[in-house]
Symmetry: C2
Subunit: 410 residues, 2 copies
Amino acid sequence: MITWQEAHRSILDQAKPLPLQIGPISSSSLGAILGDDVLADIDAPPFDKALMDGFALSGDTSAQSDGWPLGDGVYAGGIPGKALEPGYAVPVATGAPIPTGADRVIPIERTEKINGLLKVKELPGIGDFIATKGADYKAGDTVLKRGTVLCPSVAGALAAVGKTALRLIPAPTVSVISTGSELVEPNMKPMGGQIRNSNASMLLSGIHRAGCLPKYLGIAPDCAQALRNLIAEGITHPVLILSGGVSVGEKDLVRATLEELGVKIIVHGIKLKPGRPFLFGITPGGGLVFGLPGNPTSSLANFDLLIHPALLALRGYRNPGPHFQVARMEESLIVDNNRPTLRPVSVCPTNFGYIAYDLGAKGSFELGVLTRAYGWLELAPGRVEIQKDEEVRVLVPELSAVTALLLQTT
Amino acid sequence: MITWQEAHRSILDQAKPLPLQIGPISSSSLGAILGDDVLADIDAPPFDKALMDGFALSGDTSAQSDGWPLGDGVYAGGIPGKALEPGYAVPVATGAPIPTGADRVIPIERTEKINGLLKVKELPGIGDFIATKGADYKAGDTVLKRGTVLCPSVAGALAAVGKTALRLIPAPTVSVISTGSELVEPNMKPMGGQIRNSNASMLLSGIHRAGCLPKYLGIAPDCAQALRNLIAEGITHPVLILSGGVSVGEKDLVRATLEELGVKIIVHGIKLKPGRPFLFGITPGGGLVFGLPGNPTSSLANFDLLIHPALLALRGYRNPGPHFQVARMEESLIVDNNRPTLRPVSVCPTNFGYIAYDLGAKGSFELGVLTRAYGWLELAPGRVEIQKDEEVRVLVPELSAVTALLLQTT
């Protein structure tokens, strides 16, 4: 059996950014990665522009000891009709074009009007409080590079250069199939040996959190034909996640059916607790297929550690993680595991860094514990003694995603 | 003029969680806060359940030195038909009910079949690898507390207890109006003194990032009637953001129109660079109204520092921020500002914490710099000399949001 790090490398070798798609830019494009460099079509600012509310002044200043006579006003959006004559002042608003002839702006707070003349305090230097045409960028300049993450300021810059549609790396659709005749949907009351399907809801939410498009295909009972039909539909999407049916000793329908449909199994089984039965394969079309164990903790551990980074990689993130954080243990902890372990912990941010709280998780079935967890404590195999305040490594999927985003940007 | 911290307190005094709304749970409910405690309707597990693939064993173990004869198989979902007789073993799959009479499970790896008998190594203790009925939680137990953030594991727990709809704190609709006769929409080519409206796209993206529902109402030219109509529509939503028209010296239409429509202005002007003209008011119905300066950097600084936390507060987050992070400056920096300052920087995560890179921002008009920034460096007023490697405080909106989420959970 391979380590999770080896599985991770095999997955990232296959998880290449999806082909670019042209699409309109909207607020829900947030987090998408630009597929092309973006060039400015006009200068910014498009004219010499006032940076403060105040007055544009023209000409030699030493002459105006009594104050400046006022010319006509120019508001933002108005086009200055005539040149400002030397010795005159004219009111300007932030963002407004500077009239021809004006060579500086004085903020309104440094002025006073006395007998119709503008008295000025602390006269600014030539060019002060003016943004000259093209000072931010010039027509033809590259304002955004391919690979940039679409964040609010980037959305603003795209608008500024008139790009209302462009090529982005699209978010993949990720299909989910739950397997097992014992499962019923959450709106049903389980009878006898049945249990509600909680994993699908958890995975769909995790897929959404990774910025992808979740698509639930339903429950496959332990019946070859039903499973085959669902998998055949699932592998038409860039990613398929199967929940359940991958453990040794289970009826092995999942793996057999995947192989029948041409999926090449690359990983099956990793040295990890929980989440050992993890399966990873590739469809004939290059799509990714993941098989997760049926119990919630194992399933989420596999998802956060291995699938979440794969989804970010498909979205074009160069450093998709998993990115662990340093935290300190709130209390001492002794554990003994035969495999490398992810233990659910809660992670609290403080002024002195993150604190990890152990939740006393006893088995992999504890969905109750999992809802109070917000991270995974990484533990080496064997007997591990962690002292109070000792530094540990924790994986918080949201922080890992922000790290991926910041690394994309810098 | 008040400090931004005072403005922040005034805003959070008014930004109360929106009234609960019942709604279906889906993957896009991610990040919403539960409005009620959630009780289990059934025990979990609903029956004594196998935690491993292997064999359930029954009875006195010392007798079986030759190996265990096998009973009938029980797979997950199958209902055990009859009690397992003492001295017999029966195959069980992870998650399957344990047959009556069985008192322990042995993992398949610790067994071997010889002559139709099961030979076992390291016999487990009584109860091992069995999750007893109700061990995770019992019918009637509170499995999720009011105030819990809907994350993947919570989505799983809701499914497990059959909650497919429940009361959540809804995400507010946030309307955006851009003001100024000089503005044209991004798909237009600006002429003369016109500029493209980049702020609306930026703000809509920021609203989406805060988990809220952006609603763009359009550009209001400098015309009282047009502005009044748009504002009247805007204040029907829980939040209205106006971009532009709040600086001293501008035509003051925005503030006057807001007051005419019954908006009580609580903050107008804060000691901050950029973003001094910031305005905050309350509608007669208790909605929040924000006025931002027209230039992108000022607008985004106000948004990230003051509006983003307000939006999280409306969504029910108890610690909505802004949460600053400690970073180290990559290079020395000398700046001199007359007000407390937020300076756009890029923030890079490393194994040794965050590193802040100054981007040489010169004015508040630089959208180009802003797209390379991913955070704000907080600077005290006056001359500030920061040494290379010195600790500074930076605001990264995404990290601030994750901190709010983690603090909600712990």
